[in-house]
């Protein structure tokens, strides 16, 4: 009989979310490979809650997961580098980053914790606001914002914004009830959570994208080691197919974001080079500094990432 691998993620299933598509694709590829493996996908947190997936995949309770790596930064502070303001910059550079010494270090820590990476994926994201467009740091001052992780929160506090920590599923209600005036998250989530219904302005990733998050497909090492050699090869090959598929889609996600927001009558803008530099300056004094102080090899990681062309 076939061995069934359990795959889990937090986004809507069967609705075209790119991360769901990647997991489904791995399932299809494995079936095609005919090595006695099939994948059962549990979308939309229907198995493990978003943040519980790290413990589950490293311990082998779930076999495969699409997981925003920064969610585990409380256990592995180095992972904060995968949601660090301005560290990536563009989809092109994200691809080059994947094979750099920086990502080798990150991946080594992932593997040490008990998971292996099947597919790399860097998602761009933007700001939304129900008050006024967030472009320069001054425009964020006085707004109450929800950031995706501690590194971004530190930068926003540095710009004079208030922070309201809440899970991304609460962004919609938060904005609707004016508890938040703005938020930042990935292009995919900005669309799938229908946040365009409650915002006035979107700052799209554009030329100067501040927000990039690493959301790879992970496999449990325990589960991987249980497979025979042929199966292991098939799994890695399927992961590569999903990664290539994502690379083709990455920029389309940002286009879809802009289109959806425009179609729904939301003002759409981007950051200028000056705005981007001003944010980066604050980030260097806050999140970068904290990261280098808190993480033992933090300085090395940042230097390695910045060294990539």
């Amino acid at each position: 009989a076939d061995m069934t691998l359990r795959a889990s993620h937090q986004w809507p299933g069967g609705k075209g979310d790119v991360r769901d598509e990647m997991v489904q694709l791995i399932g299809k590829e494995l079936e095609k490979a005919d090595v006695g493996l099939k994948v059962q996908v549990f979308p939309g947190e229907s198995l493990f809650k978003a943040k519980d997936q790290w413990g589950a995949v490293t311990k082998g309770q779930v076999d495969i997961t699409a997981f925003p790596l920064d969610y585990a930064s409380g256990r592995h502070p180095a992972f904060s580098a995968t949601l660090m303001p301005g560290l990536v910059g563009s989809h092109e550079r994200a691809k080059r980053l994947n094979d750099s010494p920086f990502m080798e270090d990150i991946k080594a820590e992932v593997e040490k914790a008990g998971a292996i990476i099947l597919s790399d994926a860097w998602l761009a994201g933007g700001f939304v606001s129900s008050e006024k467009c967030i472009t320069s740091p001054e425009s964020a001052k006085g707004q109450t914002l929800r950031a995706a992780g501690p590194a971004f929160e530190e930068m926003l506090v540095g710009a004079g914004a208030s922070i309201s920590s809440m899970p991304s599923s609460e962004i919609y209600t938060g904005l609707q009830q004016n508890v938040l005036t703005g938020a930042n998250t990935s292009s995919g989530s900005l669309v799938s959570y229908r946040i365009y219904e409650v915002t006035k302005c979107l700052t799209a990733p554009g030329e100067n994208a501040l927000w990039f998050m690493y959301e790879p497909i992970l496999m449990s090492k325990r589960s991987f080691d249980r497979l025979d050699e042929k199966q292991q090869e098939a799994v890695m090959a399927a992961g590569k197919v999903a990664e290539d598929y994502f690379a083709g889609e990455a920029e389309k996600l940002d286009e879809e974001l802009v289109k959806t927001y425009k179609d729904n009558g939301v003002e759409v803008t981007t950051m200028s080079k000056e705005n981007y530099d001003a944010w980066l300056k604050i980030a260097k004094e806050t999140s970068y500094k904290n990261f280098e102080e808190k993480v033992p090899n933090g300085k090395k990681l940042i230097d390695e990432a910045l060294a990539v062309e």
Partner: protein
């Protein structure tokens, strides 16, 4: 074992554990643990700690203990009695005034407390003896209070609605608004039936009233108005865009605690500051119970999903392709039966996550369904064998037999069924207000 068969085994073991009197939380938890063992093997326990903690720690859940605290603060004070007295003095000229004051006080107190048995106890303690003294039959006095008390979980704020919102990830603010008009509609149904029932017994309602001077009328207000202001404040803060339900409930709880201490501390000799201990005892008891059921039912849902039972059941029902109203009738019947035995929070947590996808697939609105579900739970509160409100009435009016209370409640059950029918015919009764205030749900 196929998913459906393992689901059946889980259900049977759960029913057996519940039948011998095992607490709901621990029954759910143990069945879940057993099922998880078969899926993951012994080391599944290594992630359960993280999961269980995660189930209890979302900020939205904070609204549960906070609204309970708000209700306990109001319930511990003589506010219910004062509210009743004030309405009675102002409505005594209206035909059937005492009935109106009773049911009106029930619905306002429901808005204050978010809890059905608390509403029942607070208004019934004063209302039942008063109604009987003025010549109302025992059945009507008891039945109307038992039914009026159930409004506590429909008229906002409602702990039941919060739990539904958490279980189904729907907007709690929108749920609250959806419950308001149906709650008022049921109040009107209850009043109408009470007046009809009195007429049939040849009771002229004007004979049963008593006169008050304007001075007496105004004297009743100062202790009541502040609480009405708090509830208005909480709802304003919620819908005016200043806070989330968790935040509004927290601030509301603080204000209620202060008010109870100030108003009844100063104006009343019967209320002592040591009541604070009682308020916190009750809140702790109630919220620990609900929180543990929430955690355990999430674990249960995780086990169901791990065995692919949830997905298989949902698919099976989708494939049946029955008429959506037949489906709705079956679901209602199922909820009604579940409500006979289990408390509202238990039913909602166990069924909502499974029912919701089925409901939305059939083209029903999740907020409208929340109201339908809640009215079903209200019926459960005044029907045997497990009907909290019946036993509360039995406790506060021991001379009325349980059979009399039951006979008195039955027509109100029919009023609620009528309410469900009205909501099925005109979903706008539930959906108009949330759409109007918060914009149409997309």
């Amino acid at each position: 074992m196929t998913p459906l068969l393992s689901g059946l085994v889980m259900l049977l073991v759960l029913l057996a554990l519940l039948a011998i009197g095992t607490p709901i939380a621990f029954s759910l938890g143990l069945v879940a643990m057993g099922a998880l063992y078969t899926v993951y093997g012994g080391f599944f326990l290594e992630t359960v700690g993280e999961q269980f903690f995660g189930y209890l720690s979302p900020f939205t859940l904070v609204a549960v203990p906070m609204f309970i605290l708000m209700g306990a603060a109001v319930a511990s004070s003589p506010a219910g009695k004062d509210l009743y007295a004030a309405l009675d003095r102002w409505l005594n000229r209206v035909p059937g005034g005492l009935v109106l004051s009773n049911l009106g006080a029930c619905s306002i107190f429901a808005a204050l407390s978010g809890s059905s048995p608390a509403t029942c106890a607070a208004i019934g303690k004063m209302g039942i003896p008063e109604m009987r003294q003025r010549g109302y039959p025992a059945e009507i006095a008891a039945g109307s209070i038992a039914a009026g008390g159930t409004l506590g979980i429909l008229i906002p704020p409602s702990v039941t609605m919060i739990v539904y919102g958490i279980a189904t990830e729907t907007s709690i603010g929108r749920l609250f608004l959806a419950g308001l008009l149906p709650g008022l509609m049921l109040t009107v149904f209850f009043m109408a039936w009470t007046i009809i029932a009195c007429r049939r017994r040849g009771l002229g309602l004007s004979d049963l009233t008593q006169n008050f001077t304007m001075r007496e009328r105004f004297a009743a207000l100062p202790r009541v108005v502040p609480f009405l202001l708090i509830i208005a404040g909480v709802l304003y803060v919620l819908y005016g865009g200043h806070a989330t339900p968790s935040e509004a409930s927290g601030v509301g709880a603080l204000f209620c605690l202060i008010l109870v201490a100030v108003i009844y501390g100063i104006f009343s000799h019967s209320w002592k500051f040591s009541q604070m201990r009682v308020i916190f005892r009750d809140t702790l008891k109630e919220s620990v119970m609900i929180m543990l059921i929430i955690g355990a039912s999430e674990l249960f849902a995780f086990a169901l999903s791990s065995l692919f039972i949830t997905q298989t059941v949902a698919q099976a029902i989708a494939d049946m392709d029955v008429n959506r109203w037949v489906l709705m009738a079956v679901i209602n019947l199922f909820l009604l039966v579940a409500g006979f035995f289990l408390p509202p929070v238990g039913v909602i947590l166990m069924t909502a996550p499974i029912l919701l996808p089925i409901i939305t697939n059939a083209g029903f609105d999740p907020y409208w369904f929340a109201v339908i579900l809640t009215i079903n739970m209200e019926i459960g509160l005044i029907t045997p064998p497990v009907g909290l409100n019946l036993y509360v009435i039995n406790g506060i009016a021991p001379d009325i037999t349980l059979a009399q209370i039951l006979r008195g409640s039955l027509p109100y059950v029919l009023c609620m069924v009528l309410g469900i029918v009205a909501l099925c015919a005109f979903p706008q009764i539930a959906l108009f207000l949330p759409d109007y205030v918060m914009g149409a749900a997309k």
